[in-house]
């Protein structure tokens, strides 16, 4: 009896053969997924209920790691720091990326060169970028303070003041990643029908009014994607504080990821680090779901 529907095949032998080829194609990803994602995830879940320093055998501790987590004020400080970073980083990223994308969407000379230049930091190692910026930020010998003093302004404690350090780290993260969002916005901008601008021109609309009333509503889906991607990216803040500030001054740039890393790989509290990791992942998931609920309502496709 022949079956109908999408999986229909003219005989069983052929279906098996076709399936085998399919399995061969999915094998590389399935292998990668099982080894580097599913297994570590499962293993981390097991670790939540254990104390383990890598060298000694695991010791069952039940829910003690959660008790420790809720008593650990530094973990909650690291969550707050991450939130502060997101509040600075996401709007800054969007404004800068959109502004540059708008510029690069104009008919200007060397447009390709500019596009490549702005994308360059995305492909440069985060460590290199952070080391470069830590030189620029140096209090007494850095280029930024030299520029400020040459203009008759005072020096800024870019990374040695608890108030300034996180905004400084956010600037670096923005500079490093903005190229990716410029590309996304460029795609969004180029998909806006030209006829809308032509109609607005006939009505005598200014550049600003066209941007507010045509461009922004039309790139809403891109905006949503950028917000979600930069939120997830922002939650994983790690390299910049490690290299530039080490999490200081006075833990003001200690991000949640950095704290989890420190507990896991500096002090070998693998069970506790896994517990924090799961708790943090749950927060990220919750925020992304909320974003979808709140922002998606206004997205125009």
């Amino acid at each position: 009896m022949q079956e109908s529907g999408p999986g229909w095949c003219w005989n069983e032998g052929h279906t098996v053969k076709r399936d085998r080829i399919g399995y061969v194609f999915i094998f590389p990803y399935a292998f990668h997924f099982l080894l580097f994602l599913a297994f570590p995830l499962f293993f981390s879940f097991v670790l939540i209920f254990h104390r383990w320093d890598i060298l000694s055998p695991m010791e069952w501790v039940g829910l003690n790691n959660f008790v420790k987590l809720f008593q650990d004020s530094l973990f909650f400080k690291s969550l707050l720091n991450t939130l502060v970073f997101l509040v600075i980083h996401i709007p800054l990223q969007i404004v800068v990326a959109l502004f540059i994308a708008e510029m690069l969407n104009q008919q200007i000379r060397f447009r390709g060169v500019f596009r490549a230049t702005f994308f360059l930091p995305v492909v440069v190692s985060g460590v290199v970028v952070s080391m470069l910026w830590s030189q620029l930020y140096a209090q007494d010998t850095g280029l930024l303070n030299s520029l400020l003093t040459s203009m008759g302004l005072g020096r800024v404690n870019w990374i040695t003041s608890a108030r300034m350090a996180m905004p400084s780290v956010a600037i670096v993260a923005t500079w490093k990643n903005v190229g990716l969002y410029i590309v996304l916005f460029l795609v969004g901008l180029q998909s806006v029908p030209k006829s809308l601008y032509e109609a607005a021109d006939i009505e005598g609309a200014t550049h600003w009014r066209k941007f507010i009333h045509i461009t922004l509503p039309m790139i809403n889906p891109t905006m949503f994607m950028v917000v979600v991607l930069s939120t997830i990216g922002g939650f994983s803040l790690f390299i910049e504080p490690v290299i530039i500030t080490g999490g200081g001054p006075m833990n003001s740039t200690l991000s949640a990821m950095l704290y989890i890393y420190k507990q896991g790989f500096n002090f070998y509290h693998m069970g506790y680090a896994a517990t924090m990791g799961f708790f943090f992942a749950a927060i990220v998931l919750l925020v992304v779901i909320l974003q979808r609920k709140v922002v998606e309502k206004d997205v125009t496709y």
């Binding site: 320093d53 530039i244 080490g246 200081g248």
Partner: protein
């Protein structure tokens, strides 16, 4: 006797032995290891040793940890930080060296009973041979100190602060200080305290470390004094509030008059110093009233044999060869690092080396008065507790020295528990 027999290899006459030895991966030590291994292989063709630098990683500690977990450790490793030994002992990963019948004579031939005790693990056995040491001292710019009236380097905290007051200046008149008495990294990473708080604490306390008989003992007046000394330095702007990594070298640019460092600084300074640059080393400053001998932190590295070796006896023979006088001389000449041996200044074999390298004499003298770190699996967290409070109190003045030391002690006790 059973233990001795247990440590002996069970190799039959026909079985071929092959040992794998990992050295540090800095070029000088790779060169040293190659020479040592080549000579060993010529002298002992029946026990060939294969040398390999420890694979690249973020730190050699992490690479060794990964090797232990993956059961790919070498037979012998010569760059073990004594602070990590306790963890590996607890995990039963290291061969117990004092079960070899000749261990005591070999070790005591090299260093004192006191050093032997420093190398002991919490279980009472010894799993490491202290191989080399880097005593931490004060490197100072002779001209800069002479100009502020110090022909000899400052010996005490108050002398150092006096020199600091005179040396800290705005040279170019732009309204900002651009010459300081010293420099240290202000970040609160645990290891940074090995180069400011810890050597000064050991010096001020006459050689005490942080933990005694499993109890935290550093939260005392001595530590408060060290915090107060550094707080005065930062409060008055005698050190720049800088994160010093990958920045210009403040000391070689003569914008900082001193720095706390080890003997590795000699090769670096000789290579990059500007013309006419005069420098020397002295013990780290101590509080007024502390008498000689002045102790300091000795940054040790040990040789260990991993338990997965099939040939512990042969590995031990190679270790003995590594720490022979001839190879210790090579350690000095090739790697500019001090072997841990009591006779380093008296032994005629080393005399010509010190005659030709007078800057190393200060370190060799200091090497007799060094303390390592305590043997505890949670030592890094203890240092982290101190580091966090050091940053808050010393660098940013957010706490008094008394509060900071008390809080560091409190947190360190929780960690030990």
């Amino acid at each position: 006797m059973m233990l001795i027999l247990g440590c002996r290899s069970s190799r039959s006459n026909t079985e071929s032995v092959r040992l794998v030895y990992w050295s540090s991966n800095n070029q000088d030590e790779i060169d040293l290891a190659r020479q040592v291994v080549d000579r060993w292989n010529r002298l002992h063709p029946d026990i060939p040793v294969h040398h390999q630098p420890v694979p690249e990683g973020e730190s050699s500690e992490e690479v060794i940890l990964a090797a232990v977990v993956g059961k790919t450790t070498p037979d012998i490793y010569s760059n073990m930080w004594p602070g990590d030994v306790a963890s590996y002992v607890r995990a039963k990963q290291l061969v117990c060296l004092d079960t070899f019948f000749d261990y005591d004579s070999v070790a005591l031939d090299r260093y004192s009973e006191d050093m032997l005790n420093q190398a002991r693990s919490p279980d009472g056995h010894t799993h490491q041979i202290l191989w080399k040491t880097n005593p931490i001292m004060l490197i100072y710019n002779k001209r800069m100190f002479r100009e502020v009236g110090f022909d000899d380097p400052p010996r005490t905290h108050s002398e150092y602060l006096m020199a600091a007051e005179k040396m800290t200046r705005d040279i170019d008149g732009d309204g900002y200080v651009d010459q300081w008495v010293g420099v240290t990294d202000i970040r609160a990473r645990w290891r940074d305290r090995l180069f400011d708080f810890y050597p000064l604490y050991i010096a001020a306390s006459g050689g005490r470390t942080l933990i005694d008989s499993g109890e935290i003992t550093f939260d005392n007046e001595i530590a408060v004094g060290i915090f107060r000394f550094f707080q005065a330095i930062y409060e008055n702007g005698y050190f720049p509030r800088e994160i010093t990594t990958v920045r210009r070298d403040f000391f070689l640019h003569e914008t900082a008059g001193s720095r706390i460092t080890g003997p590795w600084e000699i090769a670096h300074t000789e290579k990059f110093k500007p013309e006419g640059f005069e420098y020397d080393f002295s013990p780290v400053p101590v509080p007024d009233g502390v008498q000689e001998p002045y102790y300091t932190y000795g940054d040790y590295k040990s040789i260990v044999v991993f338990k997965n070796t099939k040939y512990p006896r042969e590995a031990w023979e190679f270790v003995q060869f590594m720490i022979s006088e001839e190879n210790d001389l090579k350690l000095l000449k090739i790697a500019t690092q001090l072997p841990v041996r009591g006779d380093v200044l008296e032994n005629p074999l080393f005399r010509s080396y010190f005659d030709n390298n007078p800057k190393m004499v200060a370190f060799a003298r200091q090497a007799a008065y060094v303390r390592g770190i305590d043997s505890s699996p949670t030592l890094k967290e203890v240092f982290d507790a101190i580091s966090q409070e050091f940053e808050a109190c010393v660098v940013y003045g957010a706490k008094s020295p008394e509060e900071a030391v008390r809080d560091a002690g409190k947190r360190a006790r929780l960690v030990l528990e």
